[in-house]
């Protein structure tokens, strides 16, 4: 913890999200536990809820991410917050057998659901599953070629620490991709989206996943996500080059990418 405070002092404003859990103020340690609790609770219904909440559009966003990655064989892929496997499965389908794909998630339960899904889809034994924290990954320096984090960074307690950690594990030439909820650019649309997310999503969570609070957190955490350009700036600070973003669905989500040399 002291190390983190020193880092904060050194960087001025690093990790401003570490004590927000949605709109509540909590300690950094508590936040990590609370996020784990959310995903423990929703793991079984996570895939269904994504379809219901986004009308299936989350699949298109993930497909778009894969097109931007242009996955090739012989590379080492790390899917952080990889959970139930949506990104890793897509990568595997593109690259065939000859690539190492590791999923790392803070929540064990999400990985279990993911592993069961991989078996259901005939992909048993094609992935490595690790429970780990994006802020301190159990992987050596320069051991990854493509780092992805899809709908995960928002939930990380210390975002700047996680970005530096991503840069550490990436080998020279390695690429970082983050798919995440972002901020709608058109004010009119933003208003409609606000209404939908505050009024409808917690209700859906209550009906389908029997868990209103976790989906209330989801909505609030989206508001707290750094804006597109802010995240670019923080990626640059963390050591990425050519950091940039692409808005999808008018900025409802964005893909950030960066390079390590």
């Amino acid at each position: 913890m002291t190390q983190n405070r020193e880092q904060n002092k050194a960087n001025g404003t690093a990790n401003p999200e570490q004590e927000w859990f949605g709109e509540r103020n909590v300690s950094a340690t508590e936040k990590t536990k609370l996020v784990q609790g959310v995903f423990d609770s929703v793991a079984d219904k996570y895939d269904l809820m994504n379809d219901v909440m986004s009308g299936g559009v989350h699949r298109l966003w993930k497909d778009r991410l894969i097109r931007m990655i242009r996955p090739r064989p012989h590379l080492r892929y790390l899917d952080v917050a990889g959970g139930t496997g949506d990104i890793s499965f897509r990568i595997r389908k593109k690259v065939g057998d000859d690539a190492r794909i590791t999923l790392c998630d803070l929540d064990e339960q999400m990985l279990r659901v993911g592993r069961d899904r991989s078996i259901d889809q005939g992909m048993m034994g094609q992935f490595e599953w690790i429970t780990g924290n994006a802020e301190s990954l159990p992987l050596p320096d320069n051991s990854v070629d493509v780092y992805t984090i899809a709908f995960g960074l928002r939930n990380v307690t210390r975002i700047d620490t996680a970005l530096r950690e991503a840069a550490r594990v990436l080998a020279p030439g390695g690429r970082f991709f983050c798919l995440e909820f972002s901020h709608v650019t058109d004010p009119g649309l933003a208003k409609i989206y606000d209404e939908y997310s505050y009024r409808v999503i917690p209700k859906m969570g209550e009906m389908i996943a029997k868990d209103r609070d976790s989906y209330q957190y989801l909505v609030e955490s989206i508001r707290k996500m750094p804006k597109q350009q802010e995240l670019v700036d923080r990626m640059l600070k963390a050591g990425f080059l050519r950091a940039k973003y692409t808005n999808l669905s008018y900025g409802l989500v964005a893909i950030h990418e960066g390079l390590v040399l």
Partner: protein
């Protein structure tokens, strides 16, 4: 269905705190970081590489670096 830990995974994992290599204790199903003095559990074939979930090692369990 039970799962064994993937041998390929054991080759690439390091301690999340010290980034040093780990010892695999098959009987205990633990990955041991002598440097961090922590044992990370493997549950149902999934290594749990979280410091909060790790068991602190007792002195006699620690192997000095060769």
């Amino acid at each position: 269905m039970t799962h064994d830990v993937d041998p390929k995974l054991l080759e690439i994992l390091v301690c999340p705190l010290t980034h040093t290599t780990l010892r695999y204790d098959r009987t205990a199903q633990e990955l041991i970081s002598d440097k961090a003095k922590l044992a990370f559990p493997i549950r149902d074939g999934i290594p749990i590489m979280l410091v909060d979930e790790a068991r602190p090692l007792e002195d006699k369990e620690i192997k000095k670096a060769r």
